[in-house]
Amino acid sequence: MTTDRLMRVASSVRQRGQYTTLAVVILLILSVSQAVTTGSSTNLVNLWLVYSIAALGFYWIFALGGRFAFSQTFMMALGGYTTAFFDRNDVGFLGCVLGAMVVTAVAAFAVGAVLWRAEHFYFALGTLAVTEIGVVLFGKTSTFTGTNGNITGIGYPVVFGQELRTDGQVFWLLAAVLTLLLLLAVWLKRSPLTRDLTAVREMPTVSKTLGVPVDALRMTTFVAGSAVGGLAGALITHWQGFIGVDSFGLNLGIGLFLMVILGGLASHWGVLIGAAFYVAVPELLAGLQQYMSILYGALLLVVILVFPSGLIGIVDSLKSHRVRSTSRSVES
């Protein structure tokens, strides 16, 4: 076959366009940093960044690994409490956060091992049980989690010896972490894992006969996604300086689902859109605060009915429209 064709075929394997989108996203974040001036808006932008991180982890577990897991808020809480624990024991910021990620990864590994043979619905129930156990445990183990699970006075994030006290300063830290994670997400996409995980989701039994390590891959996405959740929890905790039993509750859990589904399961870029929605909509509809959840519920239903592939699906169908019309014009 011609080199041309070989290159085209190879490029579909290599998933080009990811780096371009990453560059666009970085530019977007930079322009947001310039456009946003008020304190409350900066707060919102930071929330968007840190929820994007948590949702990205959840995307890896749910959209890539295909596992319905209710444990992400537990992992965020665990990350938060762990980082507070290390902070109380005078560990530097970086050490606290890394420690939080390691602990969360280990916890996820343990949960994944217990639920190794559980099928989808049972896996979901198991993670739900873990979260419920966590809620009670966090409230009661006062030595680890403080009286009634409340810890205050947690240290500011420290980068290169500089304390980040204002929202504006924390913005740069969060943006950097998110960018790094998005890079990892791009690298994941541009690897054989994308195809292997698709097979794991769509035909797990046959995949085993093909030698695809189904269970190991599910465990990998679960642990990686949970560790990222722990990271998000740790970052939030240092940013806000406190953590309580309700910091990562049921509403956020449902929120993470919403973010990933609204954004669309087809691409990890969707979590940015989903998180933006989740953060922005309550603000835009400030007067209708009380009706928020009803609106979310109704919105979710509408999105599912009209855009089965989430908001990212719209982008995809626009792209395929353009491709089809250009190829038609070439042939005619």
Partner: protein, 258 residues
């Protein structure tokens, strides 16, 4: 005549589903580079036997490939022993491209971990490129050369079956097991398939074929095994087997008074 080495040896294979015995104490051997046909009326347990050999169902008995004992009941060991199965109805990822589908079946597991994706990218890309070239080669062999980037769901039924075959070839099989490969193919396509399988045999693969088309089996197979209600009732060359009264009984019900 040189005695050929035994590639696959099955002893006392049996598969039970609840009270039903689908495969009943079946024993046979397949020599290296042989093409063996597996025939029998509907419900005789042919597909179940293939399932047992590829580890998809729990089975009793013993199995060895090239002298190595294989644990039954799990797909891991048959796969490692290069006992590769092509299913009766195509089991593909419809949204992935043909090329991706073939690369799924590749034997090479290099660089397919998250660690490699994040920290060993150059090694990962090298493995990917070699897998891709391999897959392109196999797609060409089965006659799907132009379709690499088409999504699997766009293919016709016949093409999807060829894609499955390409994927099986990507695994570098020692023993290739095919379930009704000629179903849904017209005469011309069946001939092409036959030639392709003979070529694969030339290259050193042993083949077990389940099929219904008698001409296809006759032209292709060195030996034929006949199953009826889970039991092996005859084996031998195609000519011998079709003349066997037990086989005629099984297919027609009762042989006319001889």
């Amino acid at each position: 005549m040189t005695a050929k080495a035994t590639e696959l040896s099955a002893r006392n294979l049996s598969v039970r589903f609840g009270g039903v015995v689908a495969v009943d104490d079946v024993s046979f051997e397949v020599a290296q580079n042989e093409i063996v046909g597996l025939v029998g009326p509907n419900g005789s347990g042919k597909t179940t036997l293939l399932n047992a050999l590829s580890g998809v169902v729990r089975a009793g008995g013993r199995l060895s490939v090239a002298g190595n004992e294989i644990t039954l009941g799990r797909p891991v060991q048959p796969r490692r022993a290069k006992l590769i199965r092509v299913f009766q109805s195509p089991q593909l990822c419809p949204e992935l491209s043909c090329l991706d589908n073939v690369m799924l079946g590749a034997d090479d597991a290099n660089g397919r971990t998250l660690f490699a994706a994040w920290f060993l990218r150059s090694r990962m890309w090298r493995a990917e490129t070699s897998r891709m070239n391999d897959a392109l080669h196999h797609l060409g062999r089965v006659g799907l050369a132009g379709s690499e980037d088409r999504a699997a769901r766009e293919l016709t039924y016949g093409e999807q079956r060829l894609l499955e075959l390409a994927r099986a070839l990507a695994a570098g099989p020692r023993v290739l097991m095919l379930d009704e490969p000629s179903a849904g193919l017209n005469d011309a396509e069946t001939l092409i398939l036959r030639d392709l399988l003979m070529q694969i045999r030339q290259e050193g693969t042993t083949i077990i074929v389940v099929d219904h088309k008698i001409d296809f089996i006759d032209a292709l197979c060195d030996r034929v095994l006949v199953l009826e209600i889970g039991r092996l009732i005859a084996q031998g060359s195609p000519a011998e087997v079709w003349a066997d009264s037990r086989v005629i009984d099984a297919y027609l019900g009762a042989a006319p008074d001889a």
